[in-house]
Amino acid sequence: MSNSSAIPAMIRAENIHKRFGAVEVLKGVSLTMDKGEVIAVIGPSGSGKSTFLRCLNHLEVINRGHIEIEGEVLASTDSEGLCHYAPETDVRRICRKMGMVFQHFNLFPHLTVLQNIIEAPITVKGMKREEIVPVAEELLRKVGLFAKCDSYPARLSGGQKQRVAIARALAMEPDIMLFDEPTSALDPELTGEVLRTMRQLAEEHMTMLVVTHEMGFAREVAGRVIFMDQGEIVEARPAAELFAKPEHPRTKAFLDNML
């Protein structure tokens, strides 16, 4: 499959099925993503877009399908329809290629901003404090929060928290960044600063998969836009095309409603 000489896709997800109890949340979702691509996933709430994102880095366990990250198999399904995951240590290693930013930040409240960022590099990668601190400080400068180094998360605004969360994810040097509605929990006047940081990241050619309700961001920053509804990808096309001329009536209805 991907053992050819071609560069493997950053993410290759095929026919992902996910059930919560009797409810089928994902009904065979497939996506292939290349290096440096920025893809926005849009769709009504309950369409399965966040679940899809969470399946990619093992926050949810899929029921059926195939997931490959940079050519390494995370999960696959045999001919009898049984889904198998890679061994636990491999799963952890593969998933570390992806950084994730959550809707509710999930910063560690008992650690300062700087400690939040250096925690995983030290604990997981075994880096020395003096190696990672300059990197962390540089990341904080990049997201414009160097002055908040020693603050605890509770002292920050939502937008600042999210920018710290982005810096924290970047400190692990991921190849792919997953964003799960990064601005949905923010006051409208705070979304701009987070979107600016994300835009900057896109300009640096980070591979980004962004679940979002920000249509402006999707249109301007994303290369491709995926519209999901009822657990399926309804339409996946270059951003400009999809927004200008949605093919599917459901996409059109959704966009008319949003804009």
Binding site: L59, L111, V124
Partner: protein, 217 residues
Amino acid sequence: MDYILNILGPLIAGTGVTLKMFLVTIVLAVPLGLALALARISRFGVLSGAVNGYIWLMRGTPLMLQMLFIYFALPFVPVIGVRLPDFPAAVVAFVLNYAAYFAEIFRAGIQSIDRGQYEGAKVLGLTYAQTMRRIVLPQMVKRILPPISNETITLVKDTSLIYVLAMNDLLRAARGIVQRDFTTTPFVVAAAFYLAMTLVLTWGFQYLEKRYAVYDE
């Protein structure tokens, strides 16, 4: 006043016994309680169920009965039967009993931590053990300080139960003098001693709560 100074000697000796019992119990019961809590929330059903049963047993029978059992009945139990001197017997009973209560407090504390904290740690590559040690348990400590403070203060007073094994703790020492001298003054002095000990604990926990207040949630 002279009388009080006179009886102070045996009461201080009794306080020594009380404090020793208290400290040994805390030092052993807290880690055991934490281990029980982690076992109780583990995904291994057998382990979790066994701990659940253990907690039921320890909370469901009187501490005094447990102490009497370990001192008098344990020597006759096949295989594990062992005759313990009075202080170790009391320590075993206290530790086993208090660990059960601590375990429930720890469990409540651990389970009050938002699922997002686990997810945040997981996507950064932390293992379950690392997540517990670095993220969940440090946050748990702040939340459980008030109930732990409660439990330790109760323990100070519960140590008086060891009189049934004829150990001269503070209360038994006081009672001995009361019966000898036909005056209740030793009780009042003993009460003051207990109050002093619990006051120190109260202050200690207030200090800890302040220290942990540097971060809000």
